[in-house]
C-alpha cells in the first residue's frame, strides 16, 4: 500500500483482542502479525469502531489505541471512534 494510511498497533493481550478481531472482519483493513507482542491493523480509508460492538467498558475503550496509532482521530466519544488517514 502506498500513501497515507491508518496503522493501529494492537497489543496481543486479552482486553484488546476484540479490536484486531473486529478489523479482521472489515474489508478495508488488513491485519498482520507484528512480533513481538502486537498485531498491526492497516487501512487506506476511514475506519470506525463502536464500543458496544467491541464489547468494551469505557475504561478500556478510552485507551483503545494505547498500542500506537497513525491516523487522525476525527471522532472519539463514548460509543464511536472514527479514524481517517
Amino acid at each position: 500500500m502506498n500513501g497515507a494510511r491508518i496503522r493501529i498497533f494492537v497489543p496481543r493481550v486479552p482486553e484488546f483482542s476484540c479490536l484486531a478481531e473486529a478489523a479482521r472482519g472489515m474489508p478495508q483493513c488488513t491485519v498482520r502479525q507484528c512480533p513481538p507482542g502486537y498485531e498491526l491493523v492497516e487501512a487506506q480509508g476511514p475506519i470506525e469502531f463502536g464500543r458496544k460492538a467491541l464489547g468494551l467498558k469505557p475504561a478500556v475503550w478510552y485507551g483503545l489505541f494505547t498500542g500506537g496509532l497513525q491516523g487522525r482521530i476525527t471522532r472519539f466519544d463514548r460509543d464511536l471512534v472514527r479514524i481517517e488517514p
Binding site: F9, R12, V13, P36, G37, Y62, T66
Partner: protein, 251 residues
Amino acid sequence: MTMRPSASPALQSGGERNHRPASAAGALKSGRKAPTEGPQTCAPATLVSGGLALRGVDHTARPTWKLRETVQFYRDILGLPLIHTISARGWGPATHPDFLHFFFDSGKGSTIAFFYYLGSQAPESLRSREKARPWPQDHVCDATHTAWQVDDEQELQAWKRRLEEKGVEVSVETRHEVIESIYFRDPNGYFIEITRKLRPLGPLDADDAALTLQAAMELEDEQGGVERLGPIDAVWARKARLLLDRMGETA
C-alpha cells in the same frame, strides 16, 4: 488506579509491579531486542536492581483531623484491626510537635496509618471533602490513593455490599485493563480503592508500558514540558513510529 467510573480517562494505570530487571526503553536504546511475547505470568520475585528487592507495602500514611470518625470507619466499618499507636511529644515539627500515629491492619503485613497532630488545623483543601462522590474530582488528592487487593469477584462484591450496608457510598465497578475496582471515600474524604486482578502481567505488558512512556518522554523533551502536551494522539502516533522503527518500516 483512579479513573472516574465510566467516564473520561483522566488518570492512567500504575502497574504496581516491578518485575523486570531492565526497562524496555533501555533495551530499545541499547539496541537489544524487545522481549518476545511469552506466557502471561508474573515473575515471583520483585527484583529491582543489583539484587535488591522490595517485598510489598508496609504502610501508607495520611494526616487526619477526625480521630473518632477515622477509627470508627477503619476499625468498625471496614473491620480493619487497630494494631498499633504511637503517641509522641515534641517529635514533630515546631508547628505541630505532638501527635498520635496509629495503624490499621490491611492484610499481608500491610497497614494504613494516620497522623493526628495535636493543636493543628485541617487544611482548607480537606474541608467537606468527605461529602464528595466516590470518583476522582481532582488530579492531586484523589490521584494519591491506596488500592487494596482482594482475591476475586466474589470478594469484591462482598466488600461492596458490606460498605453499602453500613451507609458508605460506593462507585460502580470499573473494569480497567487488568484490574476491576470499586471506590469510596473515608470520613476525611480520602479516596480508597478495592481491586481484584483480572489477569497477571507479563513481559509484553512491561515492554508496552516502557514504550508508551518513551514516546511521552520524547514528546515532553521536544515540547518543553507536560504543559504543552496533549491530546494523547501525539503519544499514540509517536509510539506507532517507535514500533515501526523496531520493525524496520517507514512511517
